[in-house]
């Protein structure tokens, strides 16, 4: 698993944040993300923003499978990791430690840098 372009654009207050990046499955086996957690947040959930007839809404998408050689692109307006229940003051330059729990008990940890809004 390789994670590039990881980032959490900072919004003020205590509301949820979105984590973005590209998660590539470099192995020859499918990777199934069963659940996630994030340090300093109550919960982390894979979410998908969808737009239908000019109306947008979000839905949880776990568990999510990344096929061998495939990648999961987390980008604004599409799939993202929703970080809920902020328990710490964050600033640009900090990083959020996100843990992905894979099927089979394996865990992958990655630091998502906190960035300014684009």
């Amino acid at each position: 698993m390789e994670i590039v372009d990881a980032r959490v654009p900072l919004l003020p207050g205590s509301g949820p944040l979105a984590a973005y990046g590209v998660i590539a499955n470099r192995s020859d086996q499918p990777v199934k993300i069963v659940s996630l957690s994030a340090e300093d947040f109550d919960a982390a959930v894979l979410h998908r923003s969808r737009s239908e007839n000019g109306q947008v809404h979000m839905q949880a998408v776990a568990p999510l499978v990344i096929a061998p050689g495939d990648r999961l692109e987390l980008r604004p307006g599409a799939d993202h990791i929703m970080l809920m229940g902020r328990q710490a003051d964050l600033a640009v330059g900090n990083a959020v430690r996100v843990t992905m729990n894979l099927e089979g008990g394996r865990q992958i940890e990655h630091l998502f840098p906190v960035t300014p809004l684009p």
Binding site: L11, P12, P16, V56, P118
Partner: protein
């Protein structure tokens, strides 16, 4: 007879041309929706109406502050266009109306909109005021079920409604409209 038909046909074509100006790059909705009109509270706690924004080009957006993905995407896109046009916030203002007034208090709205710079004003009203406004612009919103943490999603319109300096509806800017198209159209309205 055929001459009369031709004349009627020409008149119809002329009327059609008057109604649909194809040179706009976002969706031209002039005359199809009501003028800007509302009675809400701004993020400083002051009661405001359309009169407070008279003389400006305004962009109306319905969102909520617990929206970390689509709303920041829309607001960042539109404010970067505003900065690119070098538009003064007193000439071009984005009106961010919360469709989640129960969770979005004025402090939360104020913090949220400040992150996007001076072009964005946060507005809040009770459900009656909000419903009057969403009905006026024919948009809907809805609340999803709360999860274990008490978080619920809010569905809302992804579009921005653009009004000219007289408060007349002019454009519908959709999420798929590229920044260049939005910039070109806003430059004309400004």
């Amino acid at each position: 007879m055929s001459r009369i038909t031709t004349l009627i046909g020409s008149a119809a074509v002329l009327l059609l041309c008057a109604c649909s100006d194809d040179s706009w790059q976002t969706k031209n909705v002039a005359g199809l929706l009501p003028d800007l009109e509302f009675s809400l509270t701004n993020d400083h706690g002051d009661p405001v109406s359309e009169a407070d924004y008279a003389g400006r080009v305004t962009l109306l957006f319905f969102g909520f502050t617990y929206c970390p993905d689509v709303c920041p995407l829309t607001l960042s896109k539109i404010t970067s266009v505003a900065r690119r046009l070098d538009a003064d916030p007193a000439d071009l203002t984005v009106l961010f109306v919360s469709v989640d007034p129960e969770r979005d208090d004025l402090t939360q709205i104020s913090e949220y909109v400040q992150a996007f710079g001076e072009h964005v004003v946060g507005l809040r009203g009770d459900r009656a005021a909000l419903d009057a406004m969403t009905k006026r612009y024919r948009v809907t919103y809805g609340y999803g079920e709360a999860d274990a943490q008490g978080y619920y999603d809010v569905s809302h319109s992804s579009a921005l409604f653009a009004f000219d300096r007289r408060g007349a509806i002019r454009l519908l800017i959709r999420e798929t409209d590229p920044p260049d198209a939005i910039a070109a159209d806003l430059r004309r309205l400004l």
